[in-house]
Amino acid sequence: MYRYDEYDQQIVDERVIQYRDQVRRRLAGELTEDEFLPLRLQNGLYMQVHGYMLRIAVPYGLISSKQMRMFAHIARKYDRGYGHFTTRQNIQFNWLRLEDTPAILADLASVEMHAIQTSGNCIRNITSDEYAGVAQDEVVDPRPYAEILRQWSTFHPEFAFLPRKFKIAISGGKEDRAAITAHDIGLSVTKNAQGEIGFRVLVGGGLGRTPIIGSEICDFVPWQHIVTYVESILRIYNQYGRRDNKYKARIKILVKALGIDEFRRQVEEDWAASKDGPGTLTAEELNRVASFFTDPDYESLTDHNSDLNEFKADNRSFSNWMQRNVKPHRIPGYAIVVLSLKKLGVAPGDATAEQMDKIADLAERYSFGELRITHKQNLVLADVKQADLINLWKEASASALATPNIGLLTDMISCPGAEFCTLANARSIPLAELIAERFDNLDFQHDIGDIELNISGCMNACGQNHIGNIGITGVEKKNHDEWYQVSIGGAKGNNSSIGKIIGPSFTFNQVPEAIDRLLQVYLRERVEAERFIDTVRRIGHEPFKEHVYATSFGTDQEEAADKKSVVPAQYSVPFYSPRF
């Protein structure tokens, strides 16, 4: 992975000094809260329900075991012993004191980390494919470009006070695993017919109140020009994006207002002046950055491992884990392993300091000391020898990191929700918990198969509800604090789509029953190995809507009391006995 040279280190160290002085001036009353607000936000510091929350940047989701241990240290020393991995591949700590934050940033700088631009109306941490460099379908490794764009965007003088936040995602596989269509700029690095590397550039995608799939602004920007091209997009947005209404300030609204053709014309007019200028990327710089992302010392192995198959046959837990949490690797004899942070009773994405230390330890012993954070709030060991899988599984299981549910119903995405976030209308984590409890039976989950259930506590959509196959959104309503809209048909990836709301909203305790009814329709209607999303697309929303609302729901209290198991009898084998 990328390592700092003296320039990177100096810039991050100077940021710590600058920020420490800003905090001092705030505490001394020399800065008003209004003036301090954007400064602290651009250092990832939010004031939340309980106190300060710090979001730390994990550039394109890639970290070392040493950095993971630093998270554990921060969790113990400054927080309440745990941290929360986010959908944007970062980590946040929820229980901090303002006075401690300069010291935390200094600790982070000592392991080449920071919280720069993890919030605020600026270019945010760039996200990427969690399987970059190891995926079988990879066309071009996106990581060197992600790092180059990270450096370009860091303290960019022109774009620190944009109309609104700005998110860039970059993917390099045939399958898009970085949700590039749902970003302000989505980049797909690819090769043209001549084998030259360049980018398909999407602009104006996003979730939030106005979910929109990004539009293609250019089908191929040669790699040398990607930085100047992106800069021109930002320059047009900075000048003409709306600033009168926070909810209409994202670039998607500007692109929609101008139309993609006019927006493109303006970008290209600006770009004409900088194209081929000094901002143009050089082969030397690309090669320098790419040198950090060359292959680790893989052994020459083959894919066959009879021990593995034998163990699999004898052990259903391991077999389930192999099926869901282990992904194919482009190098024979290796595998990608996803450590699940979605265990019943734990908020999605939460990890304790002890788990972080253990995860760092596993990374060192099994995966060249590196880790990735996924947009689904799990962790990845990208380079595990297949021969090590049994031992790794045993160790991960002992630390509650091997729930075999990756891509299944309980591998939910959830935002922190109303207990933590001042924007939220409703709680998210307890709802995720309630749903996880209702559908705890793993055999049932495995039968349902691939499904994405995403929960947001409000329409700002941090939980990516719009691109969940089932999306749940906390909405404001009179007389009751917590109501939830349910949508179906959303998806990320190459065939991404925005979900549609099925009908009137539900109370907190009604939501699991509503999901259950959706699943009943799926089980009734699915053909062959059809996934939930495929069934929705084939038969449309109506059958789902009809069944969900055909019979009335109990009141919130009745549903709460009536926590019946709806898991069909054939799944109720003792090995997976439901917990309720």
């Binding site: 100096q10 965007s153 003088p157 022109e158 320059r235 900075n238 000048q239």
Partner: protein
Amino acid sequence: MKIIKNKVIVDDDWHVLRLNEQEAADNITVASGKIIVPLKVWLAQRETLQQRSDLGVWLSSDERPEALKNDLQRFSVIAVDFPKFADGRGYSVAYNLRVHLGYTGELRAIGDVLRDQLFYMQRVGFDAFAPRPDRHIEDALKGFSDFSEVYQASYDQKSPLFRRVQRKGRSAIG
């Protein structure tokens, strides 16, 4: 009044003309002396104003510098107003004036100009700053030296870091 010019505090006798709601750009009387007029006033009273030798013009954050395209050299100073420090349009206005339109005279940041934004402002081409009068101008000077190195090109630094220095690859870091 004191302003910062080329990172030094200097006395300044320019007056910034701001119209109130009752005043119209086409009939406001522009006093004599060193005065920085709104773009609207310049455009409305160009015929008479172009006679003056010591005139400045200021742009609000939603105005386009292209409006001054053929007149840039007439002004002793061009200012860009920051109605709120969090309104970042002025950065691109300044960059466009310098880079796209080739303006080389004094470029002044006016309005809600605060210490913590000066580093960015100087990078995009501002060389004069009128910090908000309720703040210590000496303090504001510290804002220029927050960082000693930058990654990306802008007006102050025409080349990105990777073109200016020898940076280390993996083999040199170990």
